[in-house]
């Protein structure tokens, strides 16, 4: 296996590569899920930043308050994609999604919501609020492939 190439072949299928400039912010209160999503994305050559809750995510994105957001105006978003868990204490993934979609700088950035529970009303709620996709946990390699196809189209 050529370690300098950005794609690697597994026994099952060609792994997708987003390209090393692709920066993902992954938000989840569960440490194990953070490690998992980080590895899944890194295996697809993304740059990954993780956050353990919505406030840390907003902080990283520069959306903590209007003042901070004003300094971002006209600048390009730090990340190309946000993946967030739905069920988080304090600020849910849905609330985080809303805040991102309300922001002038970040609203074009795709947000993917993940959840361990398959609840149609929850899924619709997120999609209506502008989520790009809703996926079920635990995530697998095949899900990252699906995600890439969905985003690149």
């Amino acid at each position: 296996m050529d370690s300098s190439s950005t794609t690697t072949t597994t026994k099952d299928h060609q792994m997708v590569s987003f390209g090393s400039d692709f920066h993902v912010l992954a938000v989840d209160d569960n440490l194990i899920d953070r490690k998992l999503v980080e590895k899944l994305l890194k295996n697809s050559s993304c740059k990954v930043t993780t956050a353990e809750n919505g406030w840390r995510a907003l902080e990283f994105l520069g959306l903590v308050d209007e003042q901070q957001e004003k300094t971002l105006e006209g600048s390009v978003s730090k990340v190309n994609l946000v993946i967030t868990d739905y069920c988080m204490p304090g600020m849910t993934g849905y609330e985080l999604l809303k805040k991102i979609k309300e922001s002038s700088v970040m609203k074009e950035v795709p947000v993917v919501v993940v959840s361990s529970e398959n609840i149609p009303t929850r899924i619709n709620q997120c999609l209506e609020e502008g989520a790009q996709m809703f996926m079920l946990k635990p995530l697998k390699q095949a899900d990252v492939k699906k995600l890439k196809c969905h985003l690149m189209n």
């Binding site: 296996m1 370690s3 690697t8 597994t10 026994k11 099952d12 569960n30 440490l31 194990i32 899920d33 490690k35 998992l36 590895k39 899944l40 890194k42 295996n43 069920c87 204490p89 361990s116 946990k137 635990p138 697998k140 390699q141």
Partner: protein
């Protein structure tokens, strides 16, 4: 407690026990998600599986302790217990710890019903599931180390 209440209690306990019995007789220790974990491991992170599983075992101990403490209170806060179970369910699902996960499902039912006896049994069961799994996986990891130390490579198991 009135007759209906007793019967309801019995019904809930019995339901929970069905989950438990199925879990012991028919389910594997791990499911496909564990395989997914192994597939993620590569040269850049050769200890990925051991690292994640170790984190999971630490999580199990912490959460089981928290559940036990919560259930020792004079007035049990079932929502608190449930939130710990929810976390454990998530973690176990993510690493493929099938029996632990399934016990958590039954556990949540008992929490929702505010059934303390059921919860205590589920806690015992989840502790048992975790201990068994820890034993099994530590043996597996030991075998891997022995193979590597002897100069062999870890076989791919489909």
């Amino acid at each position: 407690m009135d007759v209906v209440g007793q019967l309801q209690r019995q019904f809930i306990d019995y339901t929970a026990s069905l989950y438990r019995e199925v879990s012991v007789s028919f389910l594997g220790y791990v499911d496909d998600q564990f395989t997914q974990l192994q597939k993620l491991q590569d040269e850049s992170s050769p200890d990925f599986v051991v690292e994640v599983i170790t984190l999971f075992f630490d999580d199990c101990e912490k959460l089981i302790n928290n559940m036990a403490k919560a259930m020792e209170q004079q007035v049990v806060d079932f929502k608190q217990v449930d939130s710990h179970v929810h976390q454990l369910k998530g973690s176990s699902s993510s690493v493929g710890a099938m029996r632990v996960k399934n016990t958590c499902v039954a556990f949540r039912t008992c929490c929702e019903a505010q059934n303390l006896e059921g919860c205590l049994r589920c806690l015992q069961q989840v502790n048992h599931d975790y201990s068994l799994l820890k034993n099994k996986l530590q043996t597996l990891f030991r075998l891997e180390q022995q193979i590597l130390a002897a100069g062999g490579s870890i076989p791919m198991v489909e």
